[in-house]
Subunit: 164 residues, 2 copies
Amino acid sequence: MSRLDSFIRRVTAQRACLDYAAQLIDGQDGVVLEVGLGNGRTFDHLREIMPDREIFVFDRQVASHPDSTPDEDHLFLGDLPDTLARAAEDLPQPAILVHSDIGTGNAEWDARMAEMMADVLPRVLKPGAVVVSDQKISLADAEDISLPAGVQKGRYFFQTYRGR
Amino acid sequence: MSRLDSFIRRVTAQRACLDYAAQLIDGQDGVVLEVGLGNGRTFDHLREIMPDREIFVFDRQVASHPDSTPDEDHLFLGDLPDTLARAAEDLPQPAILVHSDIGTGNAEWDARMAEMMADVLPRVLKPGAVVVSDQKISLADAEDISLPAGVQKGRYFFQTYRGR
Ligand SMILES: C[S@@+](CC[C@H](N)C(=O)[O-])C[C@H]1O[C@@H](n2cnc3c(N)ncnc32)[C@H](O)[C@@H]1O
Ligand code: NI
Ligand code: NI
């Protein structure tokens, strides 16, 4: 498998995961959090498949395509977990879906970030919320959900937060 | 269609074009030129689908993934068209396939580059060579080839060089 093949597989799996997550939360109240804006492709997809949701975006800086940049009321700029702590105060409602795509490829750093996410996320989640992430986040009070068809194990992680 | 959707379409079409190009030149002598290394994904794909071909790569600089960086004997570093002119002297054989992926999104610049390519490519091509490009290159003494199935018109350009 070439790097082009595995890249196509990765972005295709990512889309399958987002589409599936949107189905899972259909009909349930709550905002959506996009953690990691990057070039804005997944943000653009989320808002297209969930046109009626408020989507809040987190990143250190804006480096997205101009077409895919959230307005400033939906942007938390700065370092995670500061921005997530701020969101816990400022969000109009808790989140029913979080998509976290913040892996860097540096295993040590990514593990630290995943641990931080596990600590902070409960402050912004609704019971029943779905967390979809490119790294394994060991959230307490949560259950794993199986991946959508066609997505390789370990490529994405799905869980639902029971609340406490 | 979200930007994620159109991105998936683009990379999938790219792979279909490279696979098809490899079929078209199957059994014919000649080297392969990858014009525009970028992160090296298509270079990696080309060498995977054509393990027995010599592939020469052109870019201004090396910014590819370490796994997908050609050795220095197969790398022409510098500005096109200088490097293509150098290749015309130094290649062990003329090229039976050129993949050119150098579009920047700046229409004026891209048109200038396409014109430059049309001027310079004949110096490195074998009669019968296939030229696959992300921009329309108006090569003299060449015929358009239809795109592989599933690839949208205008996304990629295929032609075969008759020679002169
Ligand atoms: C889009 S990237 C290629 C991506 C690659 N085909 C892939 O999919 O993995 C385009 C590359 O062309 C190179 N390039 C564009 N114009 C060039 C020129 N005039 N001279 C040398 N390199 C050029 C850029 O440096 C860049 O790395
Ligand atoms: Ni655009
Ligand atoms: Ni690698």
